[in-house]
């Protein structure tokens, strides 16, 4: 189980990076570019709230997992 936890650490980091691409490149930037009022708030939320939590959070979780922080002693 400990080996699986470590391997999955890479998966969580990868999901964090994929989420960053989806939230910023696929969602937020096109919304910023429309210049429409109704697109501005979701774009801000994606960029400054959701992306840092998912990318940063999953990234750190993956790193901890990879370095054995969650391994059973």
């Amino acid at each position: 189980m400990n080996a699986l936890k470590r391997v999955l650490g890479v998966v969580w980091i990868a999901i964090g990076i994929a989420a960053a691409y989806f939230l910023l490149i696929d969602q937020a930037i096109p919304k910023f570019e429309t210049g429409k009022q109704e697109d501005l708030i979701p774009a801000i939320i994606y960029t400054f709230v959701l992306a840092p939590i998912i990318v940063g959070g999953l990234g750190i979780f993956g790193y901890y997992s990879l370095t054995g922080e969650y391994s059973d002693k």
Binding site: M1, L4, K5, L8, W12, I15, Q27, Q37, E38, L40, I41, P42, I45, V49, L50, I53, G57, L58, I60, F61, Y64, S65, E69, Y70
Partner: protein
């Protein structure tokens, strides 16, 4: 447990649950009255006011709650649970009462939406601090082995708060004319809050501090810096991350799908605007006792797998359940009585312009009725063009027969049943994950990020996914091809399905089923 201890525990539960229920009530009446609040404070033809309106919805609901969790969580771990959640109660009650007193945009201009935004932010802060305090306070009175059952009463408060808000609004509406309600009556549910808060304050005032925290304090073992100890030390922070990704984000999307996305889907996608309230209220009433049942069950069989299985069933069943809801009421599956179809075309004045309005009503052999109102905005006698297309608004409503209504109610009940399975044991699980001296801070933040951000953003993200799929289909059809996305109305469900699936895997592999506070 002796009789005296049990009766004082019921007093603790009553004082904590009523206050938390009122806070949810306060939070929800703003949402339930959002349409009328918009007309009073945020006129849609004014872009700045509309911007403030969106901020009031998003910022208070999603962004501010975690800050409230940090601020009040820290306070709760420093000075105690009781005083902190007294402050959150008064803050919420005061802000709610004041929203009901703010003069309209017509009277004081921009000061009105600005004041409402500030008060709404205070509501969000208070809510962020309340839940963790109440859950911790109750759990620390209950003792090990019974925390699931006793804290599950706190878990019912969010659903009951929503229910009570709907009841108070309906009672106020029925006590006056529609005009009076729109003029000033909508303020009554906000004013009612102050009475409820006063009663709850008086009850809570006489409660004593939680025994576990009192012991920690008496031994001089309280945290000097709860924020640093919760999030600055790897040993605790890794459990904060585990709580968020291994449970609460999944619980958040299950909660918001079952209680809010279902409501929006019934109204906007299925068109059952007039029957929505009835369906939701029956489903909520039927499901609410299961919060307590699953809380109790988690004390006996463990919390981890109970909650994770709830998330897994949600992940697997959402698409078939929503497809069944849609198909049950879809007019494609009904036989139209063509002789009863009526089409009325008329011109209506709309402020300084005219609109062409086409109203179509249809009846079906099973007793269902369907109505579509298509409004074409006119400019100089021809259709007004916006973004290269005629500006057309279409509103479709439907009333289904009792059998279909009950089928939809049952399918919504199933979703809320899953909510109770996942949410019922959540407070006990979170409380047991962290040591008493930093418990309030450590459990509040993942809870409000999971619910406020992962859950709270669900309606916006799901709607955006459905719109994107619709655009792809429109483009394909315009190019003479078949639609590329089948059942585009189900696309929004990918968000809770993916988040839930990730949460299930993390929870199953990383969460220790026997988890208790990791360093007590």
């Amino acid at each position: 447990m002796n009789q005296h201890k049990k009766s004082s525990l019921w007093t603790v539960i009553g004082a904590s649950s009523v206050g938390t229920m009122i806070e949810w009530y306060d939070f929800y009446i703003f949402g339930s009255l959002a349409t009328i609040i918009s007309t009073k404070f945020f006129p849609s033809d004014n872009p700045t006011a509309a911007f403030l309106s969106t901020l009031a919805t998003f910022a208070a609901g999603f962004v501010v709650r975690p800050f409230g969790a940090l601020f009040f969580g820290r306070l709760g771990d420093l000075i105690g649970r009781k005083y902190t959640f007294m402050v959150t109660l008064l803050l919420m009650g005061g802000a709610t009462f004041m929203i009901g007193c703010v003069p309209s945009y017509e009277t004081i201009g921009f000061m009105a939406p600005t004041l409402v935004l500030v008060l709404r932010l205070l509501q969000g802060l208070a809510l962020g601090g309340e839940y963790g305090g109440a859950a911790t306070y109750v759990a620390e009175h209950a003792g090990p082995g019974q925390r699931g059952y006793w804290t599950s009463w706190i878990q019912t408060t969010a659903t009951i708060g929503l229910f009570v808000s709907l009841i108070v609004i309906m009672a106020t509406k029925s006590a006056m004319t529609k005009e009076a309600f729109e003029d000033w009556g909508w303020r009554v549910p906000f004013w009612v809050s102050i009475l409820m808060i006063l009663v709850s304050y008086l009850i809570r005032k006489n409660m004593s501090e939680s025994p576990e925290f009192a012991k920690v304090k008496a031994e001089g073992k309280t945290s000097k810096n709860p924020l640093k100890e919760s999030f600055g030390h790897k040993l605790n922070f890794k459990f904060v991350l585990l709580a968020l990704f291994g449970l609460v984000m999944g619980q958040g999307v299950v909660w918001y799908t079952g209680q809010f996305y279902a409501m929006s889907f019934i109204e906007k996608t299925m068109g059952l605007a007039d029957q929505k309230g009835n369906i939701m209220m029956i489903a909520i009433l039927m499901a609410t006792p299961f919060f307590v049942f699953f809380g109790w069950l988690s004390d006996r069989i463990g919390r981890k797998w109970l909650m994770l299985i709830g998330i897994l069933i949600a992940v697997v069943s959402y698409r078939p359940v929503y497809k069944a809801m849609y198909e049950t009421t879809s007019i494609k599956n009904k036989t139209e009585i063509t002789a009863k179809t009526v089409l009325v075309a008329e011109t209506k004045e709309n402020k300084d312009a005219l609109d062409s309005v086409y109203t179509t009503t249809k009846e079906f052999t099973d007793g269902a009725t369907w109505k579509e109102v298509k409004t074409v905005a006119l400019e100089n006698g021809v259709a007004k063009i916006v973004d290269g297309k005629p500006k057309v608004d279409k509103v479709t409503t439907m009333v289904v027969n009792d059998a279909d209504k009950w089928m939809v109610t049952l399918l919504v009940f199933f979703q809320i049943f899953l909510v109770t399975m996942v949410y019922g044991p959540t407070a006990a699980f979170l409380v047991e994950l962290f040591p008493a001296k930093i418990r309030y801070t450590s459990m509040s933040l993942p809870y409000h990020i999971g619910n406020g951000i992962f859950g709270g953003l669900l309606p916006a993200i799901a709607t955006s996914l459905v719109v994107s799929a619709g655009k792809l289909n429109d483009a394909a059809v315009a190019a003479g091809n078949e639609p590329v996305v089948q059942d585009a109305y189900l696309e929004g469900l990918w968000y809770p399905i993916i988040i839930g699936a990730i949460c299930f895997v993390i929870g199953a592999i990383y969460v220790d089923g026997k988890s208790t506070a990791h360093k007590e």
